[in-house]
Amino acid sequence: MKGSNKKDDEVVDQTDDYVVSDFLKQSSGQSEFKTPDGYFDGFQKNVQDKIHNDKKVWWQLPQIRVAFSGMACIIVIVAIVNNMASTNEVVQYDFSKDELIAYFSDNIDEISENDIIDVMLDADLLEAQGFGEVDSTKVKSKINEEVPTSLYDISDEEIYEYMLDEGYEDGDWDNL
């Protein structure tokens, strides 16, 4: 610790130093701060250990980590872009009629007639039944025109012709 008789050519106002050193004259003068026994003997070893433990392996170097992160980002972006492009491709793909027929011919056992009718548009259905190309907006009225909605809409003559076509003789159906 500094004594009051210390020579310091830089001290401009030596009374500054005397204030504290005069106060400390009342003290025992022993060192106040202490360290554990042998602390400084092991200090060098502790620092050396810390330095060696701090040495990072090559993949922990900041430059390598930044490079790997960048590459990972690029890979993810490329994967996302590719995925989006391939999804669009499927959506936009236009199957030819032949391809569709070939597909449904191969899988016809798995698809019932009702399944097909369910997914077909009314216009397609009419077209398939031989009505030619049909304007989908007029489909409903056409259906109403062509298909009787009730048994009372069928005339007696039509019933008569139908029964004859089915092999019944005149009057046979009176007993049905």
């Binding site: 610790m1 500094k2 210390k6 310091d8 830089e10 401009v12 106002d13 500054d16 130093d17 204030v19 504290v20 106060f23 400390l24 009342q26 003290s27 025992s28 022993q30 106040e32 701060f33 202490k34 360290t35 554990p36 602390y39 400084f40 200090f43 060098q44 502790n46 620092v47 810390k50 330095i51 701090d54």
Partner: protein, 181 residues
């Protein structure tokens, strides 16, 4: 053998003797660095961590030391920066104000098993702890470490004039505290 800073730098610059040179540096400065830090952060455990971290930084930055400043002022600069950073982190971590950090350091001092100052010394330490960080640093380096103003100015990168003013203010505050209490 008493190695000069120039000898140590020469050893460090030579790849064959760099480890030896660093050990010489550690041997020469470990205690000085420790005490500068200890008087700032008070408790031994933190001082030990900061002192070790200081020398790890010295080792990592040896190639950046161009010899423009003296070796010891460069090392002291790293040590004081580490100590001040530690105190600032502590303030932030525990949301402490300047007054709170003084009280916290005083409590640490009183509870520290590695502090055995008598009543007079404890009173002086309490007076020093009332100073702002920079003034405390200047006072400790000037009074306890006996560094010259020119050397402290080099460490803290300030002018000698401002240092003298800070030291004067620090002593006046301490004097006032000792007379009042």
């Amino acid at each position: 053998m008493n190695w000069t800073d120039e000898d140590i730098i020469d050893k460090i610059k030579d790849n064959k003797t760099v480890d030896y040179g660093f050990n010489l540096l550690l041997e020469k400065y470990q205690e000085k660095v420790y005490w500068v830090i200890r008087r700032m952060v008070i408790d031994h455990e933190s001082s030990d961590d900061i002192a070790q971290e200081t020398f790890v930084k010295v080792w990592k930055n040896l190639d950046k030391f161009k010899g423009e400043s003296k070796l010891y002022t460069w090392i002291y600069r790293i040590a004081t920066n580490e100590a001040l950073t530690h105190l600032r982190k502590k303030k932030r971590r525990f949301f402490l104000s300047i007054g709170d950090i003084e009280n916290e350091l005083m409590s640490t001092l009183e509870a520290d098993i590695y502090y055995s100052g008598d009543v007079i010394q404890l009173k002086l330490q309490k007076a020093i702890l009332t100073l702002p960080e920079k003034q405390r640093l200047v006072f400790n380096m000037k009074y306890f470490e006996e560094l010259k103003f020119r050397e402290i100015a080099e460490v803290l990168e300030v002018t000698v004039g401002s240092l003298k003013a800070q030291y004067h203010h620090a002593v006046k505050k301490i004097e006032k505290y000792l007379k009042e209490d």
